[in-house]
């Protein structure tokens, strides 16, 4: 009985409150902080190069095997990232890659509008993962 009365007043309060849902494309909402989107390869701000050296820990730790990393040795004898593929069909946005990265070279962006017409477009390459636009916490 008490629960029923409580529910009654909760319902009245809900009627007055602003609805949680928004009409998509017509209205915009800020994405909550800490949301997980597509992963983003960080850049070194001084040299504007990718911090990642292609060690492959993220690829090993990924539970879905969605990351594929290739490395090469540059002219100075350093190991650098050659190719980085992310398969969005498999990715579950768990964030393991971010946690296990020793160089802190990856973070998760807020970009999550990922619908595509073709399956091919869901396999992202290095250049697409570096794009600064994906890092900005945008609106939808």
């Amino acid at each position: 009985m008490l629960r029923m009365i409580k529910n009654f007043f909760i319902n009245i309060w809900n009627v007055i409150r602003k609805p949680r849902t928004v009409a998509y494309t017509g209205e915009k909402m800020i994405i909550p902080e800490g949301s997980r989107g597509v992963l983003h390869l960080k850049l070194d701000l001084d040299s504007l190069e990718v911090i990642c050296n292609g060690c492959g820990v993220c690829s090993m730790i990924c539970p879905q095997d969605s990351i594929e990393v290739k490395k090469r040795v540059d002219d100075n004898g350093r190991e650098v990232l050659d190719e980085f593929y992310l398969d969005l069909r498999k990715c579950i946005f768990c964030g393991n890659c971010v946690e296990f990265c020793e160089r802190n070279a990856i973070n998760l962006s807020y970009k999550y509008q990922l619908a595509e017409f073709s399956e091919k477009n869901l396999k992202l390459e290095k250049i697409e993962l570096i794009k600064p636009s994906s890092k900005i916490r945008d609106f939808w």
Binding site: M4, I5, N7, F8, N11, N14, V15, P19, A23
Partner: protein, 310 residues
Amino acid sequence: MLVVIKKMFYILAILIVNLYICEYIGNKFLARMELRRGYRITRLRGAGFPLVRLFKYLSKDNKLNIWTFFIFLLSFLIWSAVPITSNLVLIEIDYSLLVAIIFYIGLIVMLLLNSSRTSYSALFSETSKKIFILLSFLIPGLFSMAGIVFINRTLSLREIVNSQNQYWNIIFQPLGFMTFFISILLQLKILGIGSGSYLSDDIKIGREGTGLGKTVEKIAVYMIVFFLIMILNLLYLGGWQNMHIIRGEIMIAVKFYLMFMILLLLDKATARIDSYKLLVRVNWKFLVPVSLVNFIVTLGFFISRNNNLI
């Protein structure tokens, strides 16, 4: 003759407009209770949604069962004896309350027959059980109505409303009002408007389906709820009595929609009842005894007043 047709037209118009508004309010209100925005299929905040839904139903199937036709007929016929305002009543009789109740019971029996139309064994099905339960919810309501009849010494709804010009009957019969209101809520839970009903498990009354038959069943459910709210309004809340400068016609509409919204809120608040058998327990262990006590006290008061003991 012309007057009767004119009245019929007015009553039908009021009922259809009311149906439209209540369908809209019901959907929007339930959505807002769940923090949703509600339907936005059409512009103007989804105002055309009931119409869209009606067309959706009609586009699927247009077969009409004979029982469904009777349900349709009775759901409008039920209003012939109930006065909506002081002048707007189709048949003026001295025992209109009795006629209204008989029509109401007839409508529920029609629902029973409709549910068991496929085979005779379905008469003893779970749905029939639920419809008998629905009839059992009427018992506390009947006791409460009897209390009002004893107080006002009349069976005419018009006279009952007119006798409330000074004080509403809710002041004399608060227990009766409470039991009647809760019995309406229980009936609403079995029939269901917005959320899923207990009756809809088998015959899908008040649930989204297809076809003209479903539309008619849904209209019947709405008519039952309107009828019960209207009777509550007339018996306890003063009906079309003016309140200070506010006209009676406006007052009755305000009270009607207020009751409808409170019922929707309570319906939603008790949405997590696992089994309808709890409703039966509430009815037999709480509502019927309380209404019986109320009835006996009123009867005692009535007898002592008649014998000039008070």
